[in-house]
Subunit: 259 residues, 2 copies
């Protein structure tokens, strides 16, 4: 497993792997990435504290250090994510595979838990996950539920959706409740219109998936929320991973279970 | 219950209740309090993120606002804690019952989960808690385990101790694991010397309790850690609650269970 992690990280660092990371280095915890100048870091850290289901923090680096010393001490956040997005004043201006020419001495990196961790636990519990079955990206929607604002940061919650039969809905709640550090239990079950989702077959990010007869859509807070927040709040500079192109830590998924 | 909470908050606000809050407004979540100028707030927020077992954050207020709008919107943190401690450059200089003359427009308040919440759950599970039986304060010890530092803040972890018979040790781990927002599962079981506690009958804070034949001491990360951190890190100004004299929120203990 360790070799596989080292191998994939080297491929990513050398820009030989620039596609999504789903299924890579199984069992290792993948993370959403947000990078901001120190000046905005306090407001964003507070935003994460106030919105822990959308932005569960795995690590926050020291300003200027690209090394996530607690969760992946041999990695470098300037190179070890397959694809990055550069947002300026809320606009996506570029996608790049290295931050070499974007790095500044005042940047703070936030590693945010990712649903891959709880999906791993759902699969281990025998639940089938539709977007994996259908080899698509998970469908994600911008809801009408405002996040708790913090300083300059505000905007609506983004959720991911997985459909399940009734008995599996219950088990899915139980299993994901044990992982508060990676979004935890769902934020909504059934009736998409109650959270402002008009067309379930037209997600705002990712791909639509089949919802079969008798299945209920289950919604979890999503780590893409900061990208929607960037678009609402328009910080001068915000760097994120490209959706699906995650940073892979040295930690194991099981370590993030509370029971 | 609501009436009881309103009544006790009024008593505290009018300085008619200036003693510890253990057992008051049962079922309502009590909190440790740390207040710092905005200039130090980022480092302390990062310290809490890096040390979530010692400093699980329930709420962080906007700078200058004494109102904890998410957990107790009708309360005022300048008056509604029975006793406060003022630390200047790491020295405890005063204990006061109101912050009226200490309040500044740049102060940020941190409400940190408290072991009273999980003790309530332990009692509901039929476990007996020695310091409650013996009507003492819980014994607390400064360990030799350094916290993860963050900016200006560093120092060793403080733990609280409760002795249990073997079968109850197991149940205590299970029950408290469900409450990561209020210190969660223990950090150490048995052998106090392994975490630098030389004399179990001489706690650094609180009172010693009886450890009976066959009982194992169980240690949890403690919300008094910030006071030890203040003493090590010596910020120009840090205000805390006096140990045992907690702020009582409007939230119910059960809300902080993850499963």
């Amino acid at each position: 497993m360790k070799t596989s992690l080292e191998w994939i990280r080297k491929q990513i660092r050398e820009n030989k792997w620039t596609t999504p990371t789903a299924g890579l280095a199984p069992g290792y915890t993948q993370a959403n990435l947000v990078i901001l100048p120190k000046e905005q870091a306090y407001d964003f850290l507070l935003f994460c504290q106030r919105n822990p289901k959308a932005c569960p923090l795995l690590e926050v680096t020291d300003a200027g250090s690209p090394i996530p010393r607690l969760t992946a001490p041999t990695a470098d956040l300037r190179y070890d994510t397959p694809k990055y997005r550069i947002y300026r004043h809320g606009e996506l201006v570029e996608e790049v595979t290295s931050l070499e020419s974007y790095w500044q001495e005042d940047l703070v990196s936030f590693l945010i838990g990712c649903s891959f961790t709880f999906e791993h636990a759902l699969l281990e519990n025998g639940l089938s996950i539709r977007h994996i079955e259908e080899q698509r990206n998970v469908p994600m929607y911008i809801t009408n539920k405002p996040c708790e604002p913090a300083g300059a940061f505000h905007g609506n919650l983004v959720v991911s959706m997985r459909p399940f039969q009734s008995k599996d809905v219950i088990r899915a709640v139980e299993v994901t409740s044990r992982f508060p550090a990676v979004h935890g239990s769902p934020v909504h079950i059934g009736m998409p219109e109650q959270i402002g989702i008009e067309q379930i077959d037209q997600p705002d990010f990712g791909d639509a998936v089949t919802i079969k007869e008798g299945e209920t859509p289950v919604f979890w807070a999503c780590g893409v929320t900061p990208q929607s927040i960037a678009m609402s709040s328009k910080p001068a500079l915000m760097i994120t991973h490209a959706p699906g192109h995650m940073f892979i830590t040295d930690q194991k998924d099981s370590q993030y279970s509370v029971l």
